[in-house]
């Protein structure tokens, strides 16, 4: 048994020593790589900056003629620049990449066995906005590796081809789905032509798909889909989807959204939905929502009353007037009941007071300070 121990100790010492050496080796290799890369990239980086500063008028040939090793060292910086440039400079830099054969190589790499190469290729094709790559990028939406799928989605968004919309939506309904936020953003980047596809996908059996499509419609400002979204708000079986529908009706900002949102704040609905609908009524920015919001100020659910008060605050003058009116009415009732003005305000007045106070201390005050929590200053005022 002692022999087993001795062998174990020897093995342990060897592994400990190897791990220590490994730490040192990793650091040495990384530092050497960084130094080499910095050295190689210095010249091309200067040439690149001069090229884009000159809107690509001069220096393109020099960049195309750079040795591969030097270009590779500077390529990450050049790709980063692509995202920040617009107009002639962007087109000129894209042309440098194309002349260097980057797009051709990237298209080839989309079928590489290495997931890192596939992801990098998708990223490059997106940055270069190569429309030709859309079918291949759509194929990558079902890649077995998540990181590849993520990059493919982003690349499709950069390219902005609306034909990719249904493939993107389908990619949400798989066992290891894509990030919702990313797909939403990408769908919105594809432009208003996707509205029909998104609207149709509101009947998709998967709740997550419906939620993403709602958000994308909201981002697009697809006012033509208000009725479809309103139907989801009324009928969907998943609460989170209904909440998304309410939020996006507010974002769409159409007057026709008032009726479904007013219906959603009614009693009997789940409190989170009522709160979201109250907030959306404020986001609509129209005074037509004021009566419904005022009625919610005294709601038993704190979150509903709170959202209603702050929605009224965000509505500006008509909302603030309604809040003041709630306080006035309550003060008058207090006096009539002989309860004095130092009585604590009701829940509705409390929320109104809070919203008015916040409105008065913001960078652009829309109301005068209403007092410190009791109705006395209000009445005295």
């Amino acid at each position: 048994m002692l022999r087993v121990f001795t062998v174990t100790i020897v093995v342990l010492i060897a592994i400990v020593a190897l791990t220590g050496l490994g730490i040192v080796a990793v650091r040495l290799v990384r530092q050497a790589r960084q130094r080499k890369r910095a050295l190689l990239a210095a010249g091309p980086r200067r040439a690149l900056l001069a090229f884009v500063a000159d809107n690509g008028a001069d220096g393109g040939h020099d960049l195309v003629a750079l040795p591969d090793e030097a270009w590779q060292a500077a390529e990450a910086g050049a790709l980063g620049l692509l995202g920040k440039l617009r107009g002639e400079a962007h087109a000129a830099l894209v042309s440098v990449f194309l002349r260097r054969g980057t797009a051709r190589a990237a298209l080839r790499d989309l079928r590489s066995r290495s997931r890192v190469r596939r992801a990098r290729a998708a990223q490059v094709l997106g940055d270069l906005e190569v429309r030709l790559a859309v079918p291949e990028l759509c194929r990558l939406l079902t890649d077995r590796h998540g990181e590849v799928r993520v990059v493919a989605v982003r690349a499709l968004g950069r390219i902005g081809d609306p034909t990719a919309a249904w493939r993107l939506i389908a990619s949400l309904d798989q066992s290891d789905p894509l990030p919702s936020l990313l797909v939403t953003h990408t769908l919105a980047q594809l432009g208003p032509e996707t509205e029909v596809t998104l609207s149709a996908a509101l009947d998709h059996p998967e709740a997550r798909v419906r939620a993403v499509c709602l958000d994308a419609l909201g981002l697009l400002g697809a006012a033509g889909s208000v009725h479809r979204v309103a139907r989801v708000l009324r009928e969907d079986s998943t609460l989170d989807v209904r909440i998304a529908a309410a939020a996006n009706l507010g974002r769409l900002g159409a007057r026709t959204a008032i009726e479904p949102l007013t219906g959603a704040v009614g009693p009997g609905r789940p409190a989170p939905l009522r709160a979201a609908a109250a907030r959306a009524l404020g986001d609509l920015g129209t005074s037509a929502g004021v009566p419904a919001l005022v009625a919610l100020l005294g709601d038993d659910e704190y979150r509903v009353a709170h959202e209603a008060a702050h929605a009224l605050r965000r509505l500006g003058r008509p909302g603030l007037d309604a809040l003041r009116s709630v306080l006035d009415t309550e003060a008058a009732e207090m006096i009539a009941a002989g309860r004095g003005t130092h009585a604590r305000p009701s829940s509705a007045a409390g929320h109104a007071l809070e919203a008015l106070s916040l409105a008065s201390v913001g960078p652009d005050p829309g109301a005068s300070p209403p007092g410190s929590g009791t109705l006395d200053e209000l009445v005295a005022g």
């Binding site: 121990f5 400990v16 890192v116 990181e147 939620a211 929590g373």
Partner: protein, 482 residues
């Protein structure tokens, strides 16, 4: 003879326990290594910038409980208000400070009192005295004054006043990396219907240079006591929790930096008042609630970027902290004992919580037992010297290997300590940890657990902060938590 035999068997059992304990750590660390690889590969195209620009990004309420944090609160909040995140508010809950915490805030941020309806969505036991907002930016900063009631109570008041769907709990002395909030909130954007909570990494800030509320130069601390804690944090918090996250069994999210869906926190009743480990208890209760309802959910951990926090630099304060932590584990495991080994709670009930019982709660007891029984065995001749020294060398050598593998993975993945001298200090700290530190830690932990089982009153104590190496006035002598 019987005693001799019993001691012999016990010594072997203890040896097997040490091997199992360190193997468990090694598995978690390897899992963490795989996770870091995935994280780093995805980082260039993970879409942090898209999230920052997207109007769909979920807004966050950052809740900062503060008790006598006057010396550092302004700098900490200045850093928090400069975080890179599209929409968030900060709710500072001044938990009855007896120093100038509130006055400093009022002066710096031009606070103005506003009437606020404080809901009772989660219970709190104390009285809210007043609510204030920053005059120029009332949507971003809210400061609540309340009577003293402890950290859980302060957090519950903050949760009640939080307006956004995500609540992030941050200690008042924490320094967050600029992208920290974006990083911990990102999983909620990626998988909004399933992610329930996300924990962030807490690293040790002692010795680091902090300028303008940012850690700009990461260095090893000056004291060996803190250097050992750096290695310990790497192994147990960074690697251990990442490993558990990958296994789907994360049960601890640090109260110093964690983010939760507010609606779920409200549904489970907010922070518990009856445990000192309120952060971990919240996560276990969240698991309990969601598993009972058979919900499809995820509790995850992100390894980068991080929140920086000051670690105890004296044995007295460290002892108090570790007694408290272990007491917290004991209380949580007792409170949720029905989950342990119960298949209804999936990996949490069958793997994570049993692991915590065997390898976290009991580990210091076994370590102390080994320290007593091995010499005893030698004395009564139950074990011979040859066995004893080999036993100790293998047990501690395996522990050292686990720490070194953690350092190796840190070097491959994040390499936060760029100086060669810091690397050497890290390796030496991993060796030194085995000589005295682990043993005294075990003694503190045992007294912590005994305190929980004996029903003694829990005490937070006072954390005398040394402050960071800073060009500006970050905490120099803050008296912190109760």
């Amino acid at each position: 003879l019987i005693i001799r035999e019993i001691l012999k068997v016990t010594d072997w059992a203890i040896f097997a326990y040490f091997v199992a304990l360190n193997s468990g750590y090694l598995v978690l660390i390897c899992m963490a290594g795989l996770e870091f690889g995935k994280h780093l590969r995805r980082a260039p195209f993970a879409g942090a910038d898209d999230m920052f620009r997207s109007p769909l990004t979920l807004p966050v309420s950052v809740i900062v409980p503060a008790y006598n944090e006057g010396a550092g609160i302004v700098a900490a909040l200045q850093a928090m208000t400069a975080l890179r995140y599209p929409r968030y508010e900060i709710v500072v809950v001044d938990d009855g400070s007896t120093d100038d915490t509130f006055e400093r805030l009022r002066e710096q941020f031009d606070l103005v009192e506003v009437p606020r309806v404080v809901p009772g969505e989660v219970p709190y036991r104390t009285q809210v005295l007043s609510v204030h907002v920053a005059r120029g930016n009332p949507e971003t900063l809210t400061v609540v004054r309340k009577t003293n009631g402890g950290k859980s109570d302060a957090l519950n008041v903050g949760i009640n006043l939080a307006r956004h769907p995500l609540v992030c709990m941050v200690d008042a002395d924490s320094v967050l990396d600029p992208d920290a909030l974006l990083s911990v909130a990102k999983p909620f954007g990626d998988d909004p219907l399933r992610v329930a909570a996300c924990g962030g990494v807490v690293r040790i800030a002692n010795g680091c240079k902090v300028i303008g509320g940012r850690v700009v130069d990461v260095r090893m601390p000056r004291q060996w006591l803190v250097r050992v804690q750096v290695v310990e944090y790497l192994r147990a918090f960074l690697m251990g929790r990442t490993g558990w996250s990958r296994l789907g069994g994360l049960v601890v999210i640090s109260g110093a930096f964690g983010i939760f869906r507010r609606d779920l926190v409200v549904k489970i009743g907010g922070m518990a008042h009856d445990t000192i480990g309120e952060d971990a208890e919240l996560v276990v209760r969240l698991h309990h609630y969601l598993r009972e309802r058979r919900e499809d959910y995820r509790v995850i951990f992100v390894a980068e970027p991080v929140s920086w926090s000051e670690a105890p630099s004296s044995l007295r304060v460290l002892g108090r902290q570790r007694r408290r932590w272990h007491r917290g584990i004991a209380e949580i495991l007792r409170k949720h004992r029905r989950m342990i080994g119960n298949p209804r709670y999936g990996r949490i009930g069958l793997v994570a919580l049993p692991y915590y019982v065997v390898f976290e709660l009991l580990a210091p007891f076994i370590e102390l037992a080994a320290l007593v029984l091995l010499p005893l065995g030698l004395w009564i001749d139950a074990v011979n010297l040859e066995f004893a020294w080999r036993f100790a060398l293998v047990a501690y050598g395996y522990g050292l290997l686990v720490s070194l593998v953690s350092l190796f993975i840190e070097e491959v993945s994040f390499h936060r300590y760029p100086r060669w001298s810091d690397l050497v200090r890290g390796v030496l700290a991993a060796v030194l940890e085995n000589f005295g530190y682990r043993q005294i830690l075990a003694a503190w932990q045992v007294t912590g657990a005994a305190g929980a089982w004996g029903g003694r009153q829990a005490i937070w104590g006072t954390m005398h902060r040394q402050g960071f190496d800073t060009a500006e006035s970050l905490p120099l002598e803050t008296a912190g938590r109760r």
